[in-house]
């Protein structure tokens, strides 16, 4: 059976550095996974994603995907919750499941010696989760408590408020973890249905890194994923764009510092302008002290500990999202500066020096970030999930490097909309005129 394994080798050269080899492995059962072998430690990291996430939660049942994923390791196959978790602990393995808006997935990290047994637990979690009523009620309780925490946290609340306002009539506006009401409406049948319908091999992507070879990985992925149905699930999510209404929403809370979330439409990941937009974003709202917002708001005026923006690419919508937190008396100043910098970047674009710095950083820092097997495994999944191609690491530096100043200026001009940029504020801001007060967001 090992001889039937198909492996495709590709050499990827990190700039000024050694090679990382990605192998495309197809198992005897026909499941594909990407592998980076690294035998320096007796450790293996596996990461995987199934297409379709919280955006497919049925109306009134937001939180279904997240709750189902949380329950996969709460008892499966022959093990109840305590037995499953104890077994996992005894193997010193780490198993996590997460739900995103467009995908659900997980990761497993194990010592090589325990990998086969740990993989057996993962197989059970994916193909025969128990969803025992007691575990469901306990996890439901954890969700309701965590949602209540989020509703009391200015930062979490401003993020959720912004998303709900931007995607009023689209599932992206729903919280991935749902609301206390929607979580209370989820039944055991919903959870069992979710696992059967959505944890399928069609569209599944897998990345593996560490102390195993292609033959071992091929056997492992058949062991873990072989019991899942190969038939795809056709449910689709509608294309959409966030509202760009220039609004300022305020929810009053008695806290000393206002948390602010802001954003507008951005490019999707497959947009040909994505690389230019990513560079413009780094000049405008990049971390460290590179970004203009950081210089104007933190360095010059001490208005915040941090301010940053990022491109968020969902499957069916693109965003530029940012956040800042400033004491109530001065938060209006932070917001005015953000709009002003947004306008300046739209009108003038980045300078050649700024663009060059952003390129150097985004190209040079990338290989340095791949220092753990979990990070490399996550990258393998991202490249597959976003269809970037197995030679992506080869092409990445060129894709950024080829962006010209004219192109960056044009993309900045077409993309940024200072008047459409909208804000959600949670706190007790002074001198800030809202377009709408949201007394109780009901989140």
């Amino acid at each position: 059976m090992h001889r039937s394994v198909l492996a495709l080798l590709l050499l990827l050269w990190a700039p000024g550095a050694g090679a990382m080899t990605i192998e495309r492995v197809t198992s005897p059962g026909g499941i594909e996974a990407w592998l980076v072998e690294d035998h320096t430690l007796p450790v293996v990291s596996i990461r995987f994603a199934f297409p379709g996430g919280a955006a497919l939660d049925p109306p009134g049942k937001a939180g279904l995907a997240a709750m189902a994923l949380s329950l996969l390791d709460e008892g499966a196959g022959p093990y109840d919750t305590a037995a499953f978790k104890t077994r996992l602990e005894d193997l010193a393995a780490n198993l996590r499941f997460t739900a995103g808006r467009d995908e659900v997935g997980g990761s497993l990290r194990s010592l090589k010696a325990n990998l086969s047994e740990a993989a057996g637990l993962l197989r059970a979690a994916l193909s025969s989760p128990r969803f025992e009523p007691a575990a469901i009620e306990r996890v439901r309780g954890e969700f309701v408590a965590s949602l209540s925490q989020q509703a009391h946290s200015p930062r979490a609340l401003s993020d959720r408020l912004w998303m709900r306002d931007a995607f009023e009539d689209h599932p992206y506006g729903e919280n991935v973890d749902g609301t206390p009401t929607s979580v209370s409406a989820i039944t055991r049948e919903d959870l069992v249905g979710f696992a059967g319908q959505r944890l399928r091999r069609a569209g599944l992507v897998i990345g593996a890194v560490g102390d195993l070879n292609a033959d071992e990985l091929a056997a492992l992925i058949d062991q873990v994923f072989g019991a899942l149905s190969a038939v795809g699930d056709e449910t689709a999510v509608a294309e959409t764009k966030p509202a760009e209404n220039g609004g300022v929403l305020i929810t009053r809370r008695p806290v000393p510092q206002s948390a602010v979330s802001f954003g507008q439409i951005g490019p999707k990941r497959d947009d040909p302008n994505w690389y230019a937009a990513r560079l413009v974003n780094d000049v405008l709202g990049g971390g460290g002290f590179r970004g203009r917002l950081m210089r104007e708001i933190r360095e010059k005026r001490g208005l915040a500990y941090g301010v940053s923006t990022e491109l968020v690419s969902f499957r069916h919508a693109g965003l530029i999202l940012g956040s800042v937190a400033t004491e109530n008396a001065r938060v209006a100043q932070s917001i005015a500066l953000i709009r002003a910098e947004w306008r300046r970047m739209r009108d003038e674009g980045p300078s050649q020096a700024e663009l060059d710095l952003a390129k150097d950083f985004l190209i040079g820092s990338f290989p340095l970030s791949l220092d753990t097997s979990a990070r490399v495994a996550a990258l393998l999944v991202e490249i597959q999930f976003e269809n970037l191609g197995i030679d992506y690491l080869d092409r990445r530096a060129t894709l950024f490097g080829a962006v010209t100043l004219d192109q960056a200026k044009r993309v900045a001009h077409n993309l940024l909309d200072p008047d459409g940029l909208s804000f959600a504020v949670v706190g007790d801001p002074a001198d800030l005129t809202p377009t709408r007060i949201v007394p109780d967001p009901g989140l």
Binding site: A17, L41, S365, L368
Partner: protein, 440 residues
């Protein structure tokens, strides 16, 4: 099955005899300590400079000055004007940051292996060349106040944790928050920052840790070149008052309309690697794992799974401090369960532990998990650098760090029982209860 079991045994035994990180340490001519931690998985290096100056060294009335100085170290020198440091690291694809604890202040950079000399030059330059004036210092003080609002003042649980720490330590400066008290941060200025800088920032009060795709033959000459040329200076004595005997348990209750749900915490004064009954530190680490290390731990099993009293429950204990450490317990009651009932159930578990001790099977399993964690710790560039730097900064030797898995493996049930009996003592504790208050 048999083969797998044997492999597992071999693996657990391996780190005990092997060098855990393979680190080497040296002392430069000017007294600066250097540790090199080879890791050839990625063509990158991490540089960390650890100054032996933390919040617990802040002068009376100047709480937060060590942390404030950390912020100000990014404000430039004559050779590298403001912004030049960050820009030249970013231009070379590097990342840099810093952090402050009660015992030390740390600056770190990750960069391609062939740019190590760049970050060494920059870090050496700001060890002596910092230029500060009110124009850059005063806005940065506002940044620190915003950082404090974000991390603490906006979060009721963080405010209570801060008050609980100030209650647990009656006299020792660990009672003060690392970021400082608001009323004192507001008064910190350029003079205070420069005074601390001139007094404490010197090669003979610093540790250089270089981890990554390098070896000591390569690193030592570079370290001598950039850091070795900085003259040492006379250091003031590091005065840390001793925590007096405690006679009464402390209890704090905080009601807040901003709290989502009740939370329960208890801290006990505990030995560390460097203070109190130091031999108890490793047994207490194993105890923390058994009692509240994860979903298989005693507290989680009993309170969350079996009795349904809590949404979460666990322990925390980090003995990596110069003076006494904290052995902490925390739990969040399930809605409808009173904090009193939850606390009574936790006290039952603690009494059972002190009375009956730990059993050999749970001890063996906890030790295996912790030794596996020490293998996982090598699956990263900065992880080992952090572990080694922290150990050296509190005065441990490299041999102690390398032998940790072996020491954990040797912990006996009797050692844990003794440690539990001497640490889990009511009068050495402070208990904090956070209660939500309906908005009026």
């Amino acid at each position: 099955m048999v083969a797998v079991a044997c492999l597992a045994l071999a693996l657990v035994a391996a780190p005990a005899s092997a060098q855990r990180f393979g680190a080497e340490s040296f002392t430069l001519g000017n007294g600066m300590q250097l540790a090199v931690v080879p890791n050839h998985r990625v063509p990158a290096v991490v540089q960390m400079v650890w100054y032996k100056l933390g919040a617990a060294d802040d002068p009376l009335g100047k709480s937060g000055i060590a942390h404030f100085l950390e912020h100000l170290m990014f404000k430039g020198t004559a050779a590298n004007p403001p912004g030049a440091f960050a820009a030249s690291i970013a231009r070379n694809g590097g990342r840099d940051n810093a952090f402050t604890t009660q015992d030390y202040t740390v600056y770190h950079e990750t960069i391609a292996r062939d740019r190590l000399d760049l970050v060494m030059r920059l870090e050496a330059d700001r060890m002596t060349g910092l230029v500060l004036d009110d124009k850059v210092v005063l806005p940065e003080r506002d940044v620190v106040l915003e950082e404090r609002r974000m991390r603490i003042d906006n979060e009721p649980a963080a405010l209570l944790a801060e008050q609980l720490r100030a209650t647990l330590f009656l006299h020792h400066p660990y009672r003060n928050p690392t970021i400082g008290w608001v009323n004192e941060i507001r008064l910190l200025g350029t003079k205070d920052a420069l005074a601390s800088y001139r007094k404490w920032y010197a090669p003979n009060n610093a540790i250089l840790v270089i981890a990554g795709d390098v070896d000591s033959a390569e690193v030592r000459p570079l370290a001598e070149l950039y850091f070795g040329s900085i003259p040492p200076q006379t250091l003031p004595a590091r005065v840390r008052v001793e925590e007096p005997q405690h006679y009464a348990a402390a209890r704090l209750e905080m009601k807040s309309a901003r709290a989502a749900q009740p939370q329960w915490n208890r801290s006990y004064l505990a030995p560390s690697y460097r203070a109190g009954e130091m031999a108890q530190a490793c047994p207490l680490q194993v105890l923390a794992e058994i009692l509240g290390g994860g979903a298989g731990s005693r507290l989680y099993k009993s309170l969350v799974l079996d009795r349904g009293l809590a949404l979460s429950a666990g322990t925390y204990y980090s003995p990596s401090t110069i003076d006494l450490a904290i052995f902490g317990l925390h739990a969040t009651p399930k809605p409808g369960v009173s904090v009193a009932d939850l606390e009574a159930a936790i006290d039952d578990e603690l009494r059972r532990l002190v009375r009956d001790g730990v059993d050999p099977d749970e001890l063996r399993r906890a030790k295996e998990r912790m030794q596996a964690a020490s293998v996982y710790a090598r699956d990263s560039l900065s992880g080992p650098a952090n572990i080694i730097g922290a150990a050296l900064a509190i005065g441990q030797g490299l041999d102690e760090v390398e032998a940790w898995p072996e020491r954990i493996g040797a912990v006996t049930a009797a050692e844990i029982d003794n440690a539990a009996r001497s640490v889990l003592v009511e009068r050495n504790s402070a208990t904090g209860v956070l209660l939500p208050e309906p908005t009026s």
